[in-house]
């Protein structure tokens, strides 16, 4: 039997959940979200420098906070409380029980809200983890959960940043944390599959956080575009698709299952080319003609 995987994986899986709107765990209740313990050391918006898998995967983190203008790797986006029945245990629950709880208490939807994103905004290079009281603090009565977002590189290692992630998706320079895809371009024809890329890097399509399984009716590109159109409009915050933009879905094959991921790209009359930036409208506006970021 293969030995158990380290605790990092569930959190990485949650990172994937960020991409898939509506596929995350159920949101925390208002009581849970609103609960902030009397522990003054834990506050939303605090930044930390976590650089090893052991620090990231631990049940608790007791390292000092750093100024968010200084290099950091995580930022607290939510403070919640452990619900019943686990909160009633005299001893802190097992690490795996806490990890499972993180998926519920620190949902991707809450992170998106903290980032200032809308339902159609997809992110990349982020992972969620939850930090619980130490065993001693638990025994003393603390039940606070610190939900942190970790900024990562393509190989999932921590990426240091000096940026404050609060409302980051609502800013013009949001491209580095937005999810885009890079497709093969062969003889002026785009490949159907794409690899994940931050929108600040050259790419071919920007994700609009909507996907569905590909059945026989969704093999033609036109059918895919038609199905994706409402999501693209939602993403662009418009009622009619602008003339200079096209719906550009990609196909993702995962474990034998084929899924269509909806995307958008500038219409390119000279044939498909890679572009940089995002088509997402800056908060309060509709889609701009040029890519932001």
């Amino acid at each position: 039997m293969r030995p158990e995987l380290p605790a990092v994986l569930p959190a990485l899986a949650m990172a994937a959940a960020l991409i898939l709107t509506g596929c995350g765990a159920g949101p925390a209740t208002d009581a849970e979200v609103g609960a902030v313990s009397g522990d003054n050391a834990v506050r939303v918006g605090q930044c930390y420098l976590i650089s090893t898998p052991e620090e990231y995967g631990a049940s608790s983190h007791t390292g000092p906070a750093v100024a968010c203008s200084e290099p950091h790797t995580t930022q607290t986006f939510l403070v919640a409380a452990v619900p019943q029945p686990l909160s009633g245990q005299a001893e802190r629950p097992l690490h795996e029980q806490l990890q499972n709880l993180t998926a519920r208490l620190c949902p991707a939807t809450e992170l998106r809200r903290y980032l200032g994103g809308a339902e159609r905004d997809a992110t990349t290079g982020m992972a969620i983890t939850g930090y619980y009281p130490t065993r001693a603090a638990w025994s003393a009565g603390s039940r606070t959960v610190r939900c942190d977002v970790l900024t990562t590189t393509a190989d999932l290692a921590p990426r240091e940043t000096k940026a404050d992630l609060k409302d980051a998706l609502a800013r013009p320079e949001s491209a580095p944390i937005r999810l885009c895809y890079t497709q093969e371009i062969t003889d002026g024809v785009l490949g159907s599959e794409g690899t994940d890329t931050p929108c600040s890097e050259p790419h071919t399509t920007e994700d609009v956080s909507a996907w569905f399984g590909q059945d026989a009716s969704l093999v033609p590109l036109a059918a895919q575009q038609e199905r994706c159109l409402p999501f693209v409009l939602d993403f662009l915050n418009v009622d009619v698709l602008p003339a200079d933009v096209e719906v550009r879905p990609i196909v993702r094959v995962d474990g034998g299952a084929r899924a269509v991921r909806c995307g958008v790209a500038p219409r390119q009359s000279a044939g498909p080319e890679r572009w940089t930036g995002t088509l997402a409208p800056v908060a309060g506006t509709v889609s701009g003609e040029v890519a932001n970021g």
Partner: protein
């Protein structure tokens, strides 16, 4: 029965009817096989079982074995055992953090021996999942390795290659000590030491020298304990002088990892098996009071080791005990049970837990995610598990079979042996696969492994009681310790890492090979000659029994 009298003057009437064996090898011109046998016996036979007096061969053997291990580990490139992520629990206490890829699938493919200074605070340092401190005598090697690391230009932290060098040097010292305390001629001692080196040099054991695991302390501690016990039983010096190394080596070995607690009862029996000199030196029966007094020091030593063991087990991470208990039920007991629901009922657990059969605590179907998991935590314990197997002894048969199969599969294919760029991902080191080959061959008939251990045990008893040689006792101890280790692992901490956990049992089994060679050589060396002698006691010029046989 016709008695042959070759070499003696026989009566003519007997000679007329006595058949002369055509290929008896006893004629005036011995065959090549017998000549080879005589040559080997003359060269490597133990001769008189004298002690001491081989300082130079001991030093040379130690030096050569250390160099051989270094070459085996570092040429053409270093080989080790990749970390699965739990190495940090032990090593981080030295204020270092591993330089390796972030993702599990990446860092298990190769070894990443470099650990840089990076003090981890809180639960990031300690047992994975709880941060409780992890203790092991391996920390001594790690600490020495940390001292050596800058000298080799491997940075200011800790490099496991330096720990590998420390382990090789310690192994050389132990081999030198082994040659010094073995009985017989120097060539015989060197042969046995060489065979022990061959066992240790196999990649399934030696590669752990360059790893963050506690296994090197267990391997080397075991060897050190065997040397100390030989020295104790030789009885050539004052009892205190020989008991103290046994206590030291025993404590070091047991402190290597919790499973080594299996050594405690064996060690107690070994210490109470008093040296020959203390029971027969005078040749007269000792007075009753004096006889009991002889047990005072061994009993004191046993109490010291037992007290340490209790203290050591008390500071083991609670998390480890929780995981072992989980795995013993959900990864071992239930998946191999014909009636898992009934077993759960016997254990006083909800039948719904059967859904978690075959899982680890981190699995998506883990019982830890069951709302009634607190019942498991409250109801289950090591005592109840022991009670289950006592009332269901038939389950031990299948468990033993699985354990033996795992022991005969000592290669950990799910973690790599080479540094990145020096081998394929997950590639294993096959530079010296002698034990691997032996154990793999035994897979065809696993009963042969048990037979080999039984043979070692019986020959050990024969040598211990007929030849009065300490090597016989050693064989008995090695087999008993191996078996105890085996059952401790399969009953308590086997799954899901049963292959790695049973390496120590495999090591004990592999040590049966050099022991068998030693035992057979001693038994074949001639008739019983009473107890072994020290060099000063041996009569110079005695005929070599190995040759005369």
């Amino acid at each position: 029965m016709v008695e042959t009298t070759v070499g003696k003057s026989a009566k003519p009437d007997v000679e007329e009817f006595a058949p002369v064996p055509v290929r008896s090898g006893m004629g005036p011109r011995p065959g090549p096989l017998r000549m080879a046998g005589r040559f080997l016996a003359r060269t490597f036979g133990p001769g008189e079982l004298t002690l001491g007096g081989v300082r130079t061969p001991a030093l040379v053997a130690g030096l050569v074995s250390a160099i051989a291990m270094l070459v085996r580990l570092f040429v053409p490139g270093p080989v080790g055992v990749a970390d699965q992520g739990d190495g940090n629990g032990l090593v981080c206490s030295l204020g270092v953090s591993n330089v390796r890829p972030w993702d599990y699938a990446d860092f298990t493919r190769f070894i990443y021996p470099s650990w840089t200074p990076h003090p981890l605070v809180g639960e990031a340092c300690g047992a994975a999942g709880s941060g409780e401190p992890v203790y092991s005598s391996q920390l001594a090697f790690l600490w020495l390795g940390k001292l050596l690391t800058p000298l080799f230009g491997w940075g200011g932290g800790l490099d496991m290659r330096a720990v590998g060098i420390v382990c090789c040097l310690v192994f050389g010292l132990l081999i030198a000590a082994l040659v010094a305390v073995l009985p017989g001629r120097a060539s015989f001692r060197v042969l046995i030491a060489a065979l022990v080196t061959v066992v240790m040099a196999d990649g399934v054991f030696a590669d752990f020298f360059i790893s963050p695991y506690p296994e090197p302390a267990a391997f080397l501690g075991t060897l050190g304990l065997l040397v100390a016990l030989l020295n104790y039983w030789n009885g050539a010096r004052s009892r205190w002088v020989t008991i103290l190394p046994v206590v030291g080596a025993g404590v070091f070995t047991i402190a290597a990892k919790p499973e080594m607690v299996s050594w405690l009862p064996v060690l107690a029996l070994a210490l109470l098996w008093l040296p020959q000199g203390s029971t027969r030196r005078s040749g007269r029966r000792a007075p009753e009071g004096s006889r009991w007094r002889r047990f005072a020091m061994p009993l004191l030593a046993i109490m010291a080791i037992a007290a340490f063991t209790v203290a050591f087990m008390a500071v083991q991470p609670k998390r480890t005990a929780e995981l072992n208990l989980y795995n013993a039920v959900f990864a071992e007991l239930l998946p191999h049970s014909p009636t898992p629901e009934e077993d759960l009922k016997w254990l006083g657990l909800d039948p719904g837990f059967v859904a978690a059969s075959g899982t680890t605590v981190a699995s998506p179907r883990s019982a830890a995610l069951n709302p009634k998991f607190h019942e498991f935590q409250e109801e289950m314990g090591a005592g109840k598990l022991a009670g289950f197997y006592l009332t269901h002894p038939e389950r031990l048969i299948g468990m033993g079979e699985r354990g033996i199969t795992a022991m005969l599969t000592p290669e950990l294919g799910y973690i790599g042996s080479f540094m990145e760029g020096q081998g394929q991902p997950f590639a294993k080191d096959h530079r010296f696969p002698v034990v691997l080959g032996l154990l793999t061959a035994l897979k065809a008939a696993p009963v042969a492994l048990v037979a080999m251990q039984l043979l070692t045990l019986l020959l050990g008893l024969a040598v211990a009681f007929r030849k009065k040689a300490a090597v016989g006792r050693l064989a008995v101890v090695v087999v008993a310790a191996g078996w105890l280790q085996f059952w401790v692992v399969v009953l308590w901490s086997g799954q899901p890492e049963i292959y790695r956990q049973l390496l120590l049992s495999g090591f004990h089994a592999a040590l049966c090979v050099p022991l068998l060679v030693a035992l057979i050589s001693i038994l074949a060396s001639g008739p019983e000659r009473g107890q072994q002698q020290t060099a000063s006691q041996a009569t110079p010029g005695l005929r070599d029994p190995a040759v005369s046989a």
